[in-house]
Structures are given as C-alpha cells and as structure tokens.
Amino acid sequence: MALRELKVCLLGDTGVGKTSIVWRFVEDSFDPNINPTIGASFMTKTVQYQNELHKFLIWDTAGQERFRALAPMYYRGSAAAVIVYDITKEDSFQTLKNWVKELRQHGPPNIVVAIAGNKCDLSDAREVSEKDAKDYAESIHAIFVETSAKNAININEVFTEISKRIPVVDAAGGSSAKSIKLGRQVSESRKTCC
C-alpha cells in the first residue's frame, strides 16, 4: 500500500481549540485545561484512505500574536491548512478571514483549505451562524465543517475531507514529490524568502 506524507498546518486565533482538535484526531483524548501552545507542536498520524496510507504531518501552531510571524515556516510546503475558529467568538472568525488572505498571498498555490468551526457543542453561546460561515467557505472553495473536539464531532471528517481533496498522485509523481520531500523544499524556499 502506498504511503503518502501530507503536511497539514492548523491556523487560527488563540484559544479556539487547534490543539484540542489535533489531540482528538491523533490521540482521541480531550483535556479541558490545556495550556496555550508555545511555538508550534508537531505530531503525526497515519490513516488509510481508499488504497493509500496517508501520513498526516501535523503542525499545530500557536495562536498567540507573538508567534504570528512564524506561521509561514509552518504553512510553507503544506498540502492543506485547517483554519479554526470558535463559533462562540465572532472575533475568531474575523481572524480566520485574515488567515485565508495571508494563505492566498503567501501560501502554496494549491493548498487545500479546511475551515473548522470548533466548539459546536456550545451552540447556546453561538456568535457565528453556520450559514454565514458555510457561505464564506463556499466562496473561497474551502472545506467547511463545524466540529467539537470535546464531543469528538466531525474531527476525523475534517481530515478525511482533506484526503479526498488532495490531488491523486499521477504516474510522474509530481505532487507526491511536493508532499514527501519536505526537507528539500524547505531549503529551496529558504533561499527565496530569507
């Protein structure tokens, strides 16, 4: 069975639940009292998709402003980006839009964008309507799901959707080279960016 490595980064405002989503996906656990991520945390998980194994190389970035300038390092060379907002915080949805803009301008051209409206278990305190978010996601051709890391709702689905959208490896292996040879790509882009 073929193994593909897919670099995925999580972006979004501080406290929206990026780390919780990753923990739920990777370890199937949830801790209500986790500390803010420092820098970025790297984890992997391999899942089967059709007749391929997809190894997700997940960069869970810190949402705090002081780490903002580091983000390019993580989304560069990513096959997909999961941008997370908190359905109970309007501000976090605005931040999400900024992330989309930034990815458009500086991100990889074919990056798959997934929008996750997290904390959907707290719909009583909802500030962002599902329809608005869905419309926005459609307008930018992004995957859209409302998730709850706490109740394990739609977490695996986000990553399955990403698997679906990732271009199929053609015989020449053009796109697989892109997602597997991370190290080389990083050093190439370094010349241009730094």
Partner: protein, 622 residues
C-alpha cells in the same frame, strides 16, 4: 491642588542612587547579571513639581494623608539612603539569639543587631498616617486613594477590568480591593514607561492600571530630578523598582528579603520576558509606539511568569545564581553526554537533557563554549519554561527562544520533546540557530532515543533521585547548600550547587519556606553591600545556621538548634570532605563538546551573526 510627596515621613525611606549603593549592588549579582544599564549620575534631589502634577492629579479629597510639601523641604532631604537601607534590611528573620562571627576585618557590626522594625514605630499619629498613605498607595495599592476612584465612586475603568478578568482563571480574577489581595507575600508588577500595565502576579492588569499609573508617576518624578528611584521602605513592605529599557518592574514584598535579592528577582522576570520577545524587539516596539500594550504579545505567557515567580520563591537556585543538577553516577552521566555528543546536525549549539525539572547533562558546541559559557540564569529560564507549561507534553515542539544572558537580541530555535510519554519526566532540549532546522534536529532526537533505548538509559534515569542529608553522616546537620566557584578544573563551566532533599522538620511548605527565608537572610548578610561578611553563625529559634564564603565556595548549613560552635565547625569539615568524595556524582564535571559549525574556521562570532540573521527574518514582530 494637592501634590503627592513622599519624602517627609520618618518611618520610611526612599532610597535613591547613591554612589555607595551603586557600587555595592553589583556584588551579589555578579553571577547572574551583567552590569545594569547605565544609570543616571547621582544628583541632588531636585524635584520638578509641575512634572509630578502631570502624572498624578489626585482630586482634593480632604484626607490629610496627602502631604503637601514645598520645594525647600524636599531639596533639603539627604538623598543618600545608605544607612537607612542597612537599618531596615536588618529587620530580617527575628531571632532571639543572634550571634555572629566574622573573619572579615571590614566588618565592625556589633554582635547583636536587633531587628529594628519595632523601634521605628512612630508615635506621632500624623506621621503614622502619612506613612500609612504610602503603604496603602503602593504596597497595598488601594484604588480609591489615587484620585481616580475616591471611596464610594468607583471608576468605570476599574469595573470593566474586573469583569473582564473574571473570565480568566485563578488568581487573575482576584479582587484587587480585597484584603486577601493585599496580604500576598510578594507582588510583582511590570509596566511600560507610558504607565501601561504589562503584568501583575495577582489580580488583573486592567483592575490595577491606575495603581500602576501611580508607580510610574513615582518613577518619573524621581527621574525628573536626574535620579533613579530604587526602593521605598515601609513598616511592613519593601517596594523595589527596576527600570530596564522601556520596562519598569516593581516588587512589593512583605518578606524579609533584601533589596538586592528582590531586585535580582525582578531581573529574572525581565529576562523571562526578554526570552520570549528579545530586548531588540521590545525596544523597537516602544520606539514606534510609546503606549503599545505589550500584553498583546505576552498573551498566553502569563503562566510562564507566574511559574517563574513561584519557582523564585521556592527554589534556591535563583538565590544562589547556580544550577542544581540531578545527582547521577558519573558513568551514566558520561554515557548520556556521549549520546548527545553523537547526535548532531549543523547549527546545533546546545543539547540539554532534563529529568524531573533538574539538569542531567548539557553538551555545547565547541566554538560557543570557547567564547561564552551558558549562564545559570539562562538555564533557569529554560527549566522554568519547560516546567511551567504542559504544552510540551504532546508532540514535538519547535519554538523560538532567546537566552537573554547569552544574547538578549537574538532567537535560538528550541526543539523540545519528552522522551518518556506519558509520564513526561525526561525532557530533551536541542537549541539550534537555524529556524528551518526542525526536521534535522528531530532526526537527532531519534538518534538519541535509539541510543538511550539500547543502553536502557531511561530506566536508569528513573532511579536517579536527590539524596538525603543522612548520607553525609553528620548527626546534627539538617540541610545544606554548597556552591563551588570557578576553580581551574571546572573553569568556564556552568555554575552549579548541590543540596540534599529537605527532610523533617522541613516537610510542610511553610517550614520549607521558613528555612529558605533563613537562608535568604544569611545570604543577604553575606552579600550585604555595606558590610559583607564571610562567616555567620546564626542561632535562630528552631535551628542554628552557619554560612561561610571563601574564594572557592559558598556554603550554607542548617543544624539542630542545640549544636555547639565547635560541633558545627567539625561537621562542616566532614561535610566538605564528603562533597569532595562525591563530587563526580553531584556535579556535571566534564561536559563534552561537539562541533557542528560546517566551516571550522567560523568562530562563534559568525554563528552569532547567523543568529542575528535568523532573528531578523524569523520574528520581526512589527
């Protein structure tokens, strides 16, 4: 119009920059701090009252604890607070029997130095009131007395702050007007030069914004006279100020620590902030925008500062400016060092292995160690960062971090990963100067992990633990702290100290703190700026302590209360012999080095300039 003037009460003193103080101050800080920024020259206190008026405009409240003084009175004050400092710092842990011996001829201190606090109690009610005013204003930070919210009229700003804070966890939502808030042993505040709150140890910064405004007013008032405010002493509190670049740090302490010690602690707080943001970017930010709210950049990092302050209170490493490593059979430590030494990649500069929040071993890049050594304070900040956050317990972390004493303006990139999940006691920390090096550095971790599995290192490390004082075999000895100085065979190595577990009667947190307080008191006497001592024999209420500093070591010991002087001296001789015998186990003795600089002709200067590059393109915060 009322004007806040602070220099008229007899029972508290404002200590300014006097020559004697400035000279002396650096001595105890020698091992943990570089010379402080250039401070303003000593000048006569020439107050500019209009300026003060600009900063604080208290409404006429009719309370007579606002003291108004004319300029003549102030300028007649003698700014040299030298003797006053001494007097008050002596009000240390009170002891019934306080005898001391010294072999320092410079010390002419009389044998009994009674705690002086009591004698200063003013009898004049007016004076007591004005003293009380300062206490309430600064140490207790009572909001109503700042002219913004006079009792019964609460400011909307304050209310908003409290409401916002209630959303946050734990002591951030403390009511800053409550007595319990005032009774905290040690408050620490960080503010910007514009008087904007940046951090408060207890209570929310919003609720304290007016209090911090008053602090800034004090700082700028004294500054306007070409002077620097260093401390304010009141009956119950010591208020210490530290100005570093655009940041002002203030400590309000009811502990018996000396001003120098408190200032050292503020310096650690400053360094921890620098380690997250770098000095260069902080200066840049405030150059652009004087009233920038730095909390935006520190958001989510309060826990790290909270953790640091708790550690500073409970861990003598900070007091001694030395690192405590986990005792380990030297063969095991050597094999761990060799594992680290072999797993290298270009631009890797430090490989650090930590277990139970203590250092196991540290391996450095060759060219780095030639030029500079890793300062204990930098290691403390790293250990605190790792200990303060559980964020490192999942996955592999890659984060920029600055080692302020190594280079305050540049970032390293730190790879942090626990080697024994889910227990998470053994942590690997690899520092690189290349921000793109994550995958290469992660590969080093794999090599290290493999080698450690092959040698069964993790289970051996798990057995390692601190030792009991009973192993020394001296019956009256309860506890000690021993810090060797640079001697030829560990020249340019990390300053370390060794200390056994605290055992009965120092089991409860209160008792531990009490012993540490006694050590702090001994330390402040040894490192007193005006009369440093070399040997102190201190008979306290429940124990007897002996502190001794020589050119080779600094030693603090704690004995049973009934020990005789002769017994204590014999015990120390035995203790020193025991440490000598065990030193391979107690200290990191010969840390190996590796070379990862691609071009051997490159000196660490060029590797530093690489850091500069990566800092420039990595994290430009504006």
């Amino acid at each position: 119009m009322f004007i806040l003037i602070l220099f008229v009460c007899s029972n508290w003193d404002v200590i300014m920059d006097a020559d004697t103080l400035q000279e002396g101050e650096e001595q105890p800080m020698r091992n943990c701090a570089p010379p402080s920024d250039s401070e303003a020259p000593v000048g006569i206190l020439a107050p500019s009252l209009p300026l003060l008026r600009n900063h604080t405009t208290p409404e006429p409240t009719g309370r007579h604890d606002f003291v108004s003084v004319d300029e003549d009175q102030i300028s007649s004050l003698d700014p040299s607070g030298d003797t006053k400092v001494e007097l008050h710092s002596d009000a240390g842990p009170s002891s019934k029997l306080d005898s001391e011996e010294t072999d320092s001829p410079s010390c002419q201190r009389s044998v009994s130095t009674p705690p002086s606090g009591r004698e200063d109690v003013p009898t004049d009610p007016d004076q007591s009131d004005s003293g009380e005013f300062v206490v309430t204003m600064l140490a207790k930070a009572k909001l109503e007395e700042q002219g913004i919210g006079v009792k019964g009229r609460s400011s909307p700003l304050i209310e908003a702050g409290i409401q916002e804070a209630s959303a946050l966890a734990s002591h951030r939502d403390e009511d800053v007007t409550a007595d319990s808030w005032r009774q905290h042993r040690k408050h620490v505040f960080v503010l910007s030069e514009a008087g904007k709150p940046i951090y408060s140890r207890y209570g929310s910064e919003e609720a304290l914004s007016s209090t911090m405004g008053v602090m800034m007013a004090l700082v700028s008032f004294v500054q306007s006279g070409d002077n620097i405010i260093r401390s304010v002493y009141t009956e119950e509190h010591t208020v210490v100020f530290l100005q570093k670049g655009p940041l002002v740090l203030v400590c309000v302490s009811s502990s018996c620590q000396s001003e120098q010690q408190l200032r050292g602690e503020l310096l650690y707080v400053y360094y921890q902030i620098i380690s997250m943001l770098t000095q260069a970017s902080i200066s840049r930010i405030f150059e652009h925008k004087k009233n920038y709210d730095l909390r935006r950049l520190l958001a989510g990092s309060e826990k790290i500062l909270d953790g640091l302050l708790n550690l500073v209170d409970s861990d003598p490493s900070f007091l001694l400016a030395a690192v405590h490593c986990l005792p380990l059979v030297s063969s095991l430590r050597d094999s761990l060092s060799q594992i680290l030494q072999k797993a290298i990649t270009p631009n890797l500069v430090f490989s650090i292995l930590i277990a139970k929040n203590q250092l196991l071993t540290i391996v450095q890049e060759k060219t780095v160690i030639e030029d500079v050594r890793l300062e204990p304070a930098d290691v403390h900040l790293l250990l605190n960062l790792i200990g303060a956050s559980s964020a490192f317990q999942a996955g592999e972390i890659w984060t920029p971090i600055c080692l302020p004493l190594f280079n305050p303006d540049c970032y390293f990139y730190a790879y942090i990963s626990y080697l024994d999940p889910p227990e998470c006691t053994v942590c690997l920390l690899l520092l690189s100067t290349d921000k793109e090096a994550f995958y290469a550095v992660a590969e080093c971790k794999r090599k290290i992990e493999e080698a450690m599995t092959a040698q069964n290192s993790l289970s051996l490390i798990a057995k390692a633990q601190s030792y009991s004082v009973s192993q020394v075999g001296v019956s009256d000895l309860r506890h000690f702290m021993y810090k060797p100085f640079d001697v030829p065979d560990n020249y340019r190595q990390l300053t370390q100290f060794t200390s056994p577990e605290m055992e009965a009667p120092y089991c409860s947190d209160e008792e531990k703190m009490r012993l540490l307080d006694l050590y702090r008191y001994m330390h402040s006497r040894i490192h007193s700026t005006s009369r440093p001592l070399k040997l102190i024999y201190h008979v306290a209420e429940k124990e007897t302590l002996l502190a001794w500093v020589t050119s080779k070591f600094e030693l603090y010991t704690c004995f049973n209360p009934l020990v005789t002087k002769a017994c204590a001296i014999t015990a120390i001789t035995k203790l020193l012999r025991w440490i000598k015998k065990e030193e391979d186990r107690l200290f990191i003795r010969y840390p190996p080095k590796y070379s990862t600089t691609p071009n051997p002709s490159k000196s660490s200067k060029s590797s530093k300039s690489e850091q500069q590059d990566s800092a420039d393109n990595g994290l430009s915060l504006l």
